[in-house]
């Protein structure tokens, strides 16, 4: 039986790794938008000492998320059947997101 060209080439016909890779990219973009809004909030109306600390924390969350996404994207572009991600990596991404929300709550209450 001769399947489509993709199957014969040994490539996943549903492009599952590519779709997952692009989902990570979309999520990184969403994280960037949220982080930019967070940094804008910290810098709004002049910079104070707590504002600067919160701004640094928001940037750290964004960098942490970027690192997790970058590692996963590299694993997914390696080709073949990628292994399931480690729960630790996903938890790290989630904690960066939750920390951004906590920073936001502090900022909203202070401002």
């Amino acid at each position: 039986m001769s399947g489509p060209a993709a199957v014969r080439a040994g490539r996943d016909p549903g492009l599952q790794p590519e779709r997952t890779r692009l989902a990570w990219r979309r999520t990184t973009l969403a994280c960037t938008v949220a982080s930019v809004l967070a940094v804008r909030t910290t810098l709004y109306g002049g910079v104070s000492a707590p504002g600067a600390v919160l701004c640094a924390l928001c940037c750290a969350c964004w960098l942490g998320f970027l690192l997790v996404a970058h590692r996963r994207i590299r694993a997914l572009s390696a080709g073949g059947a990628p292994a399931a991600p480690s729960p630790l990596h996903l938890t790290a991404a989630v904690l960066c997101t939750a920390a951004l929300a906590v920073c936001g709550a502090v900022l909203v209450l202070e401002g």
Binding site: A23, T27, S86, P87, L90, T91, T97, G104, V108
Partner: protein, 130 residues
């Protein structure tokens, strides 16, 4: 409660999940991962919405503005934590060959978003300071 504690513990213990059952078809794992990412994007959108309410509705009364922003930020944080919890439960169910877990969370989240949307309409109509 014990289930919840075990669920939280497995967020940090990669071996716990991988030791159970058999490894499913990688496409199912990737689909589970994409579902996780979609929930995470929902969480990030809620968090971004919280910042936007705080920043772009400055004429709103303090109580309304802070209340709406905090509700959106809290919903975002909850949604993110729930994303990894659901991923772990789905991964475990797939490895054991069980049915995927059902959840009331989507209904709950839609209700919260509907309430926040209605509150925002009311706030914009009545809550202007000037």
């Amino acid at each position: 409660m014990i289930d919840f504690v075990r669920n939280v513990r497995s967020w940090f213990a990669p071996r716990d999940v991988r030791q159970e059952g058999t490894t499913p078809d990688y496409r199912f794992s990737l689909a589970n991962e994409r579902t996780f990412l979609a929930w995470l994007r929902t969480a990030l959108a809620l968090i971004g919405g919280g910042f936007a309410v705080d920043q772009f509705l400055p004429d709103l009364r303090w109580g309304w503005r802070v209340g709406l922003a905090l509700a959106l930020l809290a919903a975002g944080a909850l949604c993110a934590l729930r994303a990894v919890s659901h991923w772990v439960r789905c991964e475990r169910a797939m490895r054991r060959g069980e049915d995927l877990p059902v959840s009331r969370f989507p209904v709950l989240l839609s209700l919260v978003i509907a309430v926040v949307a209605v509150a925002m309409v009311v706030a914009v109509l009545t809550g202007w300071d000037g």
